[in-house]
Amino acid sequence: MSKEFDIVAYYKTLLVESPELSMPVAAIKSLVELIKQSQATTMSEFMISIKDASQKLKSSVRNSISLSAGCDLFLRFVTRNSLDVADFETWKASLISRGKSFVEKADACRYKIAEVGEPFIKDGSVVLIHAHSRVVSLLLQKAAASHKRFKVFVTESSQTQGGIRSAKVLRAAGIPTTIILDAAVGYVIDKVDMVLVGAEGVVENGGLINQIGSYQMAIVAKAANKPFYAVAESYKFVRLFPLNQYDLPTYNADTLSFQELNVDYDAKTSEDAAGIPSKSLTGSAATKTLSATASPSVASSQTALHMKTSEDQTLQGSNPLVDYTPPNYITLLFTDLGVLTPSGVSDELIKLYL
């Protein structure tokens, strides 16, 4: 093979081909493919190529948290095993087979989580969920399949429209579902028995990184004394210790910056009328009426979370995609390792990385 293996392109085609695949699993799949195609002859060359590739992957997408969880887990596994290598080729083969079996097991993780979390859904209860999460949907589907009658409120999550996707999935499973505005969380919280969210990543202190809006949901839930449960596969545990919202790797100087201060507002309104997108719209925040009249590029910026044109990115660049929920707002985490308290997460991470 003469041409260099393009891991980023491979990763992106994987996600397009199978939308059910979650980011960390796709990342590990790509790294396994890299090992397969690797021409490295020495150990250190091999290790460097893997590290480079995972770095490349991480920098290729805007929202890299769950992706880097997968990469780090795999890298950790490779370095840990690299100590007792007898034969390079057989070792490589075993890495590949392990990686493959991981991808199979990753699917089983979700079912395990649905199993441990299902008893928490009480008959006759009302559940509030946020945006779209495959594992949350699966958990609710399982609860519905075991003849529990419950209702679901789902936030539309205007940035990705994930709530609408969730509602479709849940209604198909026969669960009464209502879509609410992101701003209506406080309005419905009194009717709700529990809050359930997925996760992009679970950080070292047991806190949660998830689609924007989770943090405010957690605060509202705490104020109303409702349990706030997070659902996450253990391969989403990441070694980060954010102290606040602006400590996340996804944060940059552009995030929520006040660029429009220099803009001439009069000129802008005329631009809007002409249908030319301006900085002030900043993508996601566009209201329904605005997006109806605004240019197609603004409307499309509301749809895809991961893959966007560069123009959309500059438009949406200033609005964060994820937020961080500190552990004291989280009642319990449902994972494939069982039900954990937030402090249990750091224990698992220490077991892996110590």
């Binding site: 009480k122 009642t331 249990g344 077991k351």
Partner: protein, 359 residues
């Protein structure tokens, strides 16, 4: 085998009739039964033994699902059995190939962890190994150690009393708990303090508690349950006993405990819970009432009140669920722990495969 069945039936019947109540007596009876069952029955493999213990466990738990201590003891025993077989296994395999294969450190494979996603799945217990004859006695020995631990549980807990209780403090408690009683008596040997006991209607077990404490020379005052909030501001510490501790740190304790804990939280008074580790259950409170018992309402509204009895519904729940954010500290036989640390104790004492008894 039939003799074993008789013994199991006997305990099941006693649990069902509530002839045996209280976590301590129930767990000691369970342990005694398990020792007999394990030493008398024929088993050769780990799976046989695990299934045997689990089937006994299932029957006992079904007999009285609210006595969580039964399940805890059975899980402890299952954990011991797994550990012993694992040890025997690794000894056997290290004898066979001492040099060729470096076995993984056990900490990686013993419990499910993130590493298992990529590594080997946890070593399943192998059935084809010839186990040394000492295995049976080793297991019995380990179980006897649990028994000793149960018998000495009060000693380990009460030894921490002087760290918690200081001179001239005012302590509040509710209900009758042997653990709390021993704890306070131990402190009273060296320090002078005052105890307020809520009478704990309708069982009035608080009154019995007060009697025991005053016999030991502690300055004790009984207060009605309704006065708990009123006097809370003068209290230095609330010390509670409990029926069971759940995996999230929540308590299943005598009714009235939640009210006392809430009053303490309102006044920022520390709440300390004294409990043996055998009361720690790996189960979660899926539902606040899932571990509750409704008792005979006679003590709330007796038949003497004939006219009223016809017109009202009376319930008498025996337990309260107290959520973990009301508790500041657990004093167990292994030391003091905050509620957030309990998961760690669960990992150390129980095998994750045993949290539910599916055969």
């Amino acid at each position: 085998m039939s003799k074993n069945n008789e013994l199991v039936d006997d305990l099941v019947a006693k649990l069902k009739r509530r002839q045996l109540v209280g976590s301590s007596t129930v767990s000691q009876a369970t342990l005694k039964l398990l020792i007999v069952v394990i030493s008398r029955s024929n088993w050769t493999t780990a799976n046989q033994l695990l299934t045997l213990v689990k089937s006994v466990g299932q029957r006992l738990i079904q007999a009285n699902p609210t006595e969580l201590a039964v399940g805890n003891i059975i899980r402890r025993v299952l954990h011991v059995i797994r550990e012993e077989f694992r040890e025997a296994d690794s000894n056997a395999s290290s004898h066979r190939n001492k040099s060729t294969e470096s076995s993984h450190p056990t900490s990686l494979t013993t419990s499910s962890s993130m590493y298992n996603l990529l590594g080997e799945t946890g070593s399943t217990v192998n059935d084809n190994v010839q186990y040394p004859s000492s295995l049976r006695s080793n297991i019995i020995q380990e179980i006897r150690e649990i028994k000793d631990e149960l018998e000495n549980i009060y000693d380990n807990i009460k030894n921490q009393a002087l760290l918690q209780i200081h001179s001239n403090e005012i302590i509040m408690t509710i209900g009758r708990s042997k653990t709390v009683e021993e704890f306070l008596k131990m402190a009273a040997a060296k320090r002078k303090f005052q105890v307020l006991v809520a009478e704990t209607a309708p069982s009035y077990s608080g009154q019995e508690m007060a009697l025991e404490l005053s016999k030991a020379g502690i300055e004790t005052t009984v207060i009605p349950d309704s006065a708990v909030f009123a006097v809370m501001s003068r209290v230095n510490k609330v010390i509670l006993g409990t029926h069971a501790v759940l995996a999230n740190g929540g308590l299943v304790a005598i009714s009235g405990t939640h009210m006392m804990a809430a009053a303490a939280k309102h006044h920022s008074i520390p709440v300390v819970v004294c409990t043996g580790l055998y009361k720690l259950s790996p189960l979660y409170p899926y539902d606040e009432d899932s571990f509750n018992v409704i008792f005979n309402p006679d003590s709330v509204l007796g038949f003497e009140e004939g006219d009223l009895v016809e017109k009202v519904t009376v319930t008498n729940p025996y337990y309260d669920y107290v959520s973990p954010d009301f508790v500041n500290l657990f004093i167990t036989n292994q030391g003091g722990h905050p509620p957030s640390y309990l998961y760690r104790l669960i990992v150390e004492n129980y095998d994750p495969n045993d949290h539910t008894f599916d055969l």
